[in-house]
Amino acid sequence: MRIITRSFERKCRQGVKSVGCTVGSLLFAMQLVGCVTQTDPAELLLLTPESAQNRAMQIRLFETENQVELLSASAAVLQDLGFQIEESVLEVGFLRATKERSAREYGQDIGRFFMFILSLGKYYMPVDLHQKIAATLVVRPIKESQTRREVRIMFYRVVWKGEGHSDNQTIPPGEQKMEMIRDPVLYQQFFAKLSKAVFLEGFTI
């Protein structure tokens, strides 16, 4: 979608003023709000203020020496939530689990319907169709304390769109969007369930 947005922008800038252009701008107005800024690669490996915040959200400490139990309980909690285990590397305490679900949203269906009418049947907007929700989990001993382990989990999802068409041209499916899940409530819920499963209170860093 954003690639198309770009080309629309370009076309508009080039002065190709047409109905299509106006409609196009309208269509992607929502996307344009979050205008794409180029990131300097040199800054990509720098810690940002959000890093510390995310860290605190994603990590809980548990008073246990039993890494296997923590991992096994985490896997059980993830299984409870419908996740499928994709990879497990016990030596570094790493687990990866995913679930694939439908991503169809009514709002988008309605939006597409109105766009279809407004564009007089010329534009059939691709909508979100499929998503892969993933969690990576790492259990790590804490250096200065032999009896504690930290559990860090990160949730994120990748969403793919289906196909559409615009002016008899098919828009191929498969456009992808990724999203890190930064909703603290979700992380709290996960750790609450994990605490219950290991009969231990998890505490924040």
Binding site: S102, R104, D109, W160, L186
Partner: protein, 200 residues
């Protein structure tokens, strides 16, 4: 009919309304999801899929878990691997220490009318991020609903029992129907020569 007669709406208006309705319906059908899209369940916010409500968690757990009167994890795991192989699953994860086994299998449900889709085989589903910046196709997408995934975990219940839990994903959903699990556990019972009990 009675409403029309009591309200005394002129016939032309009714004709107009029905025409508008008909037009709307056609447009609706056009602007609506294709059959393949229809088969994806809709929701207001797709982020809701990340979590699962407590009720469905409890329901799922009951359907998916069985207790075995054994403490031999190794043998149980071997039995599970054998059962998965019998069922035609490709095993991807076996972790003996964590008691985890996970596999996948493809049940062709979609896209048969187009013949073989070669791009599908180029798609590496083990990668978390699939970067298709310019190239797009139905490749993985028309087939993702074909993917069946199954994760089986073995955990100690008490000194004499193990809990085996099997959870499966089919057509972009978690299988909630207890029957497929019953069949799985029957096959596992035969592989282990043990009777399984429901979790009380």
């Amino acid at each position: 009919m009675s409403i029309v007669s009591t309200l005394r709406i002129p016939a032309t208006t009714i004709k107009g309304i029905s025409l508008a309705l008909g037009l709307n319906l056609t447009l609706l059908l056009h602007g609506c999801p294709m059959p393949y899209e229809w088969r994806h369940e809709g929701q207001w916010n797709s982020q809701d899929q990340i979590w699962l409500s407590e009720q469905s968690q409890v329901k799922l757990r009951a359907a998916q878990s069985r207790v075995f009167d054994t403490t031999d994890r190794r043998r149980t795991l071997e039995g599970i691997v054998a059962t998965l192989q019998d069922l035609g699953f490709i095993i991807e994860v076996v972790d003996e220490d964590l008691g985890l086994i996970s596999g996948k299998k493809f049940v062709p449900l979609e896209g048969r009318n187009f013949g073989t889709d070669h791009s599908y085989h180029l798609y590496n589903d083990q990668r978390l991020l699939i970067f298709t910046k310019a190239y797009r196709s139905w490749g993985p997408f028309l087939h993702r609903s074909d993917l069946v995934r199954l994760t089986v975990s073995v955990r100690q219940r008490n000194e004499t029992q193990l809990v085996v839990r099997a959870s499966a994903q089919f057509y972009l959903r978690a299988i909630e129907d207890p029957v497929p699990y019953q069949q799985f556990f029957r096959a596992l019972e035969q592989a282990l020569f043990l009777e399984a009990q429901r979790v009380p």
